[in-house]
Amino acid sequence: MSDPGAGSRRDPAVFPPYLYEGYRATILRAPSKRFVEIPETPSEVTGPGPALSEVMAEDADLTRNAGTEGEAMGERIIVTGRVLDANGDPVPHTLIDIWQANSAGRYRHRRDQHHAPLDPNFLGMGRCLTDEDGAYRLLTIRPGAYPWPNHENAWRPAHIHFSLFGPRFTTRLVTQMYFPGDPLHDLDPIFNSVPTDAARARLVAEYAHDVTEPLWALGYRFDFVLAGRHGTPFEDGDHA
């Protein structure tokens, strides 16, 4: 088979292509053959999301969830928003996991070799569920930018990794949230792998002064829209 490169498996106007040469790790990892399009069967319209609900309240506070009694160093921030489906309806009680570097730009991970201090009071991971209206709220610290070996003098802009399940197997989403006004955005191939300005803007949180709490923490709003059709399951004749 000599099919052209596989592009993206979802809307190519929104989702990055698998092969994006500026991000070097894609070169040997992007599929080269065409995707096989399949109907949405019960395996696709179901998914683990609705059954994954084990969170504790303290999981939503990354500044204090290290179990040390101490508080993480850095600029305290509130990240809040809503998770919506493609129809604009809220996705209630869905799990959100996040992980991130500390305020110095260092992950607590054995493969992170960045010469920056670890923070004993910061694990860099947390989770929460959306409420009835699809809303979530996390307290953390603003992560630092950090260098990476992709190209000469390459730096990742500050970002928080997000993992969401949504209602179906096909609504699974892993992405990154960026901060507004960061001059590193234009230089980052991972951010720029997203094909359009409008789609990239979906990955940049909005500074929200109404979320900011006086004398306490800066507020950012970051909403999600989970891709995928959301018709009544099994209504089509071609599956079920």
């Binding site: 088979m1 596989a6 993206s8 498996r9 979802r10 809307d11 929104v14 989702f15 990055p16 698998y18 994006y20 991000y23 790790a25 894609t26 040997l28 990892r29 992007a30 599929p31 080269s32 053959k33 995707f35 096989v36 399009e37 399949i38 069967t41 019960p42 395996s43 696709e44 179901t46 683990p48 994954l52 493609a86 604009g88 992980w99 570097a101 991970h109 493969r111 992170d112 694990l123 991971m125 990794h161 993992s163 209602p167 197997f169 699974r172 989403l173 892993v174 992405t175 990154q176 991972i190 792998s193 990239r200 979906r202 990955l203 909403d223 999600f224 829209v225 989970l226 891709a227 995928g228």
Partner: protein, 191 residues
């Protein structure tokens, strides 16, 4: 106002392990889970044939009666066998992942749309800007009538069929995932 534009994906990167593996999720079964115990294992490879040591695999599957634990599964019966059907495994330094689970039942109510037993997979890795979606079918099942498998070009079907073997009296299915190249695994889209 929130735009209706979907949120794009980004790579999982190399530092997901603590978050993704904060509780072990590679064993899907307990002693009480009904069904045939199986082990699924394999390695993930890149386009140069090198093992990928920073991938994560998620599986989603029906129980042994072919039911998904999900409100949209109309076949869900009153009896609850406690089986979630979701697992996650990160590859080790040799690119290997594994799951202990049960073989799922056939999904689908009618003979014409019945699907052969299968697992649905998301593959995540540094260098993957979105997860890849594939399926694992079982080499010792009759897969000839499966509607999804029929859409796969015949010459590539073997890439989504796991090879059965026995080890210590137990069924083991080997399923390698090749992201790129001649033996590239078939990946699906549902656009």
């Amino acid at each position: 106002m929130t735009s209706r534009l979907p949120t794009p994906s980004q790579t999982v990167g190399p530092f997901f392990h603590d978050c993704f593996l904060r509780e072990p999720m590679d064993v899907l079964v307990t002693d009480q889970t009904p069904g045939e115990r199986i082990r699924v294992e394999g390695r993930v490879y890149d386009g140069a044939g090198e093992p990928i040591d920073d991938a994560a695999i998620e599986i989603w599957q029906a129980d042994d009666a072919g039911r998904y634990r999900h409100p949209a599964d109309l076949m869900t019966s009153a009896t609850d066998d406690g089986f979630l059907g979701f697992g996650r495994s990160a590859t080790d330094e040799t690119g290997a992942y594994w799951f202990e689970t049960i073989k799922p039942g056939r999904v689908g109510r009618n003979p014409e749309d019945a699907q052969s037993p299968h697992l649905s997979l998301h593959v995540f890795a540094r260098g993957l800007l979105d997860s890849l979606v594939t399926r694992l079918y079982f080499g010792d099942e009759d897969n000839s009538l499966d509607a999804v498998l029929k859409r796969v070009p015949e010459g590539r079907r073997s890439t989504v069929i796991a090879t059965p073997s026995e080890r210590d009296g137990r069924r083991v299915y080997v399923f390698d995932i090749v992201l790129q190249g001649d033996n590239e695994t078939v990946f699906f889209c549902t656009r």
